[in-house]
């Protein structure tokens, strides 16, 4: 049954998310062709170049906002509003329904982020490639990785890994905050959407304050080790960086677990459809 839930959820959400990601890919291809053709080297095209870039950035923002709103509305409609009558009368456990909704939405957000990162990387690479010969293009990246390693005392990969992890955890937290807020909103007999929005804002502010406080405490205590170290070495900087991200990741994972528990408890035990 879980497989069938996933199948239908992917089918329904793919109707919007596949075209949205294709838009990003189309932008990338067009952008790469324009950049590769050195069209923008000509000063006459400076305005076109600038407006294309602005359009590209705005479109990416719009795509993320649409994705976020789509999953919020879809979750509310299929779980706590009219379509909830179908969702909750299916012979499957409420837990499986929640797992499916959370995992599928996070999957699409992560995919859209990955496609966006690929898009930005592809355009940067094309720009560099057009202005450098093949050998120097390859050596550009080799040099970049080498210099990065020398400068910060860690490989580019180990620099990127905690950030990637934080992005994925952030996607889970982002969706779970919304879903938990909606599950609290549905407890009310009136003004359910308003209650969900207020809950979301409160959670958002609380999480931000908590994040800042933890970051401050971590930085403060980790900073000590930076000063205590007799020599300001690269390895100290590396460990400072990793401590910072580890604490942040753990904090966000704990928040995800709390939001998931709230969502699960309220939907299985306190369901209150209009």
């Amino acid at each position: 049954m879980l497989g069938k839930l996933f199948k239908h959820e992917f089918k329904e959400t793919g109707k919007l998310l596949i075209p949205l990601n294709l838009v990003i890919i189309c932008y990338t291809v067009i952008g790469a062709i324009m950049l590769g053709s050195r069209l923008f080297d000509d000063d006459h095209f400076a305005l076109l170049a600038a407006s294309s870039l602005i359009l590209y950035i705005l479109s990416i923002f719009a795509i993320f906002i649409v994705t976020f709103i789509f999953f919020t509305v879809r979750f509310y409609k299929t779980m706590y509003s009219s379509q909830g009558y179908l969702t909750h009368t299916l012979p499957v456990s409420t837990g499986s329904i929640i797992h499916t909704k959370v995992l599928v939405s996070v999957f699409w957000v992560v995919v859209t982020m990955a496609v966006t990162m690929f898009s930005v990387f592809a355009m940067v690479a094309v720009t560099i490639r057009t202005h450098l010969s093949y050998d120097s293009f390859n050596s550009f990246f080799m040099e970049f990785f080498m210099e990065f390693n020398e400068e910060f005392g860690m490989s580019f990969g180990s620099f990127l890994l905690p950030i990637m992890l934080l992005i994925i955890v952030g996607c889970f937290e982002g969706m779970l905050t919304v879903y938990a807020s909606l599950s609290i909103g549905q407890l009310f007999n009136q003004y359910r959407i308003l209650a969900a929005i207020v809950t979301y804002v409160i959670i958002h502010i609380a999480v931000n304050i908590m994040g800042t406080v933890t970051m401050f405490i971590t930085e403060f205590s980790a900073m000590d080790s930076l000063f205590i170290a007799e020599e300001f070495s690269d390895s100290v900087l590396g460990s400072f960086y990793h401590t910072l991200f580890s604490v942040s990741n753990i904090e966000h994972i704990i928040l995800c677990i709390i939001f998931y528990a709230v969502l699960y408890f309220l939907t299985t035990r306190k369901l209150n459809l209009e």
Binding site: H8, S82, Q83, P91, L271, N272
Partner: protein, 232 residues
Amino acid sequence: MSTILECKDLCKSYGSKTALHNVNLAIESGHIIGLLGPNGSGKTTLIKLINGLLTPSSGQLYINQNPVGVESKKIVSYLPDHTYLESNLRVRDVFSYFCDFYEDFEEQRAYDMLAKLNINPSDRLKTMSKGTKEKVQLILVMSRRAKLYVLDEPIAGVDPAARDYILNTILSNYDEEATILISTHLISDIENILDQVIFIRQGQICLSSSVDAIRQEQGKSVDALFREVFRC
């Protein structure tokens, strides 16, 4: 005959407002039962509790000896009192959805009923009239071989001809073993198909009797009795 539905001291309140109060009820399988009461008497609340769309404030509810959950949902076929399907879907998409999730859904039967009404399976729900949408939902519900059918106001809001079609569909698609619980306030229209009636008033069951008993002992139709009991 076994007990298909049992409520024990079932209560449901919304904040300070009590919707159901100490409902005790046992329904035997193989009957068509009318759940009758004026607007706001608690009919829909009871039906939502049976389907697990609300959680009881206190008390217990069993369907075929099981508490409300995956097992009960397998054998209950429910028609809500409003549209609950994504309006962008085509009829055949909804059929395949039901086919995937309900083992007792008979797809061919659903297509046959659709053909009789000249509804195109490729039509999207949003292009249909309210009455047609209700018919599609009824086809979905009655194409299941369920043990308990729960129909919430199935004939409200459709014309008399459509009412006849709906009642015929209900009668011709249900087998003797199954139980149908129909909630309505349009009693005269469905009186002829009912075996039993349950009167509900202000969240409490005030009468549970067979239709024959009402006719013989009180010498009245259910409609006449309803008008008498619920006189404003």
